[in-house]
């Protein structure tokens, strides 16, 4: 249990998927201009990461990992080189499926999240989550917690950034620094602040 809590805290703070691993930058820069859209996209990322990371875990350990096909009488087969292409297809398919399910059952949620879902399929934070899960040899439960934690970390970072950018609108910046330049510098300062959480011990 303690391990799970520490995985969660670490994926939110010190090992934040955006601020420490630079994943999901494209949509982070593009969408943080508006706080409502930022929060919407943030929740969509939490949702998709929490679903795709464990699903990819099942697929990797059930089909692709070395020896995973033993149940089919093929213990020698190692398909792990296919993980990139399989993961990206699974993510695209899952996003599509989630979009359809939400559309069918909750019109309110669809109105809120729907437009962000297609954007997410190419968000590197999602693929990164799955790849790190393999790299770090997580168990199934850990992959659920890690997916959820990374999503929450990303949500926290983009919300904070969107809030900071509202203030930045009134700042008198030197020519050329506005927009992308200052966003990156603020992100850097935020990354420093998040690193301070690395001292948390359980």
């Amino acid at each position: 249990m303690v391990e799970l809590v520490s995985i969660f805290l670490n994926s939110v703070f010190a090992g934040n998927i955006l601020l420490a691993y630079f994943l999901g930058m494209c949509s982070f820069v593009a969408v943080s201009k508006n706080i409502d859209t930022a929060i919407g996209l943030g929740f969509a990322v939490v949702f998709v990461l929490t679903v795709t990371t464990p699903v990819n875990w099942l697929i990797f350990h059930g089909l692709l990992a070395p020896g995973a096909l033993a149940w089919a009488g093929l213990p020698e087969v190692d398909l792990s080189f296919l993980k990139l292409i399989v993961f990206i297809s699974v993510i695209a398919a899952m996003v599509q499926a989630i979009e359809m399910i939400i559309d069918r059952f909750s019109a309110a949620l669809y109105a809120g999240l729907g437009i962000f879902l297609p954007l997410i399929a190419v968000n590197c934070a999602i693929l990164g989550g799955s790849l790190f899960m393999v790299e770090r040899e997580m168990s199934f439960i850990e992959s659920v917690v890690y997916g959820f934690g990374s999503g929450v970390g990303w949500l926290l970072a983009i919300t904070a950034m969107a809030a900071a950018r509202i203030k930045l609108r009134y700042a008198d910046l030197p020519s050329g620094l506005e927009g992308f330049g200052i966003t990156m510098i603020v992100t850097g300062l935020m990354a420093m602040a998040f690193m301070l959480f690395s001292g948390i011990t359980m």
Binding site: L19, A20, Y21, F22, L23, G24, M25, C26, V29, A30, F81, L82, K83, L84, I85, I88, A92, V122, N123, C124, I126, L127, G128, L131, F132, E135, P174, S175, G176, L177, G179, F180, G181, I182, T183, M184, I185, T187, G188, L189, A191, M192, M195
Partner: protein, 208 residues
């Protein structure tokens, strides 16, 4: 006709400097920064990225008349993903030490927005040789930013360039210390922000 006026040159130079993919289009910075602690990893990443973006441009441009419109994105993704896997497997086989340092970031080239953007926006509507050159230009532009960030981080963070120490021992003896912050993530964000500032400032003053 001067070299700088040819279509091919423009195709190369536009992405490499004028519309540099990192600073101007804000694309593709995802996987770029994590590998900039050392020049060596940044350099290999640049090569991998250039290979994928130019080859995917070439292949997609060659197939542009036969790809059915309704599944073109997935076809593009399949081509890109296959090329990335090839690059990854190749690195693991021939540059094992570096591939260990790059870990998952080679794989994340797939989700790099530049590549899909170039495939969709350029290769689908241009002949193969231009698509290839456009890819190379994008690779060089991407690489120049990546390598500059890596240069600054490695020089100030570990006092070396490509792994060779360049800060003299006497400087350390006189009290000089490597900047630990350069090795950490925040430094990459701040450097890229400052670089975007300089490039935008120059672009602004060129216009006026």
């Amino acid at each position: 006709m001067k070299l700088t006026r040819t279509k091919a040159f423009k195709t190369f130079a536009d992405p490499a400097w004028y519309d540099n993919p990192i600073n101007m289009q804000m694309l593709g910075i995802c996987s770029a920064l994590a590998v900039t602690v050392q020049l060596k990893t940044a350099f290999v990443m640049t090569l991998a990225m250039t290979f994928v973006v130019s080859m995917s441009g070439l292949i997609i441009s060659l197939m542009r008349r036969i790809i059915p419109g309704n599944i073109r994105i997935i076809v593009e993704l399949a081509v890109i993903a296959s090329l990335v896997i090839l690059a990854d497997e190749f690195l693991k086989a021939y540059f094992y030490d570096i591939s260990k340092l790059l870990s998952v970031f080679v794989g994340l080239i797939i989700t790099n927005c530049i590549i899909l953007g170039r495939a969709e926006g350029f290769a689908l509507s241009n002949p193969p040789h231009l698509a290839l050159i456009d890819g190379l230009g994008n690779g060089v532009g991407y690489g120049s930013v990546l390598l500059s960030v890596a240069f600054i981080r490695e020089l100030f963070g570990s006092g070396s360039i490509f792994g060779f120490s360049v800060i003299p021992e006497s400087a350390y003896a006189a009290g000089y210390e490597d900047m630990g912050i350069m090795m950490l993530a925040p430094a990459a964000f701040i450097i890229i922000g400052l670089m975007a500032w300089v490039q935008k400032y120059l672009a602004n003053s060129r216009k006026s």
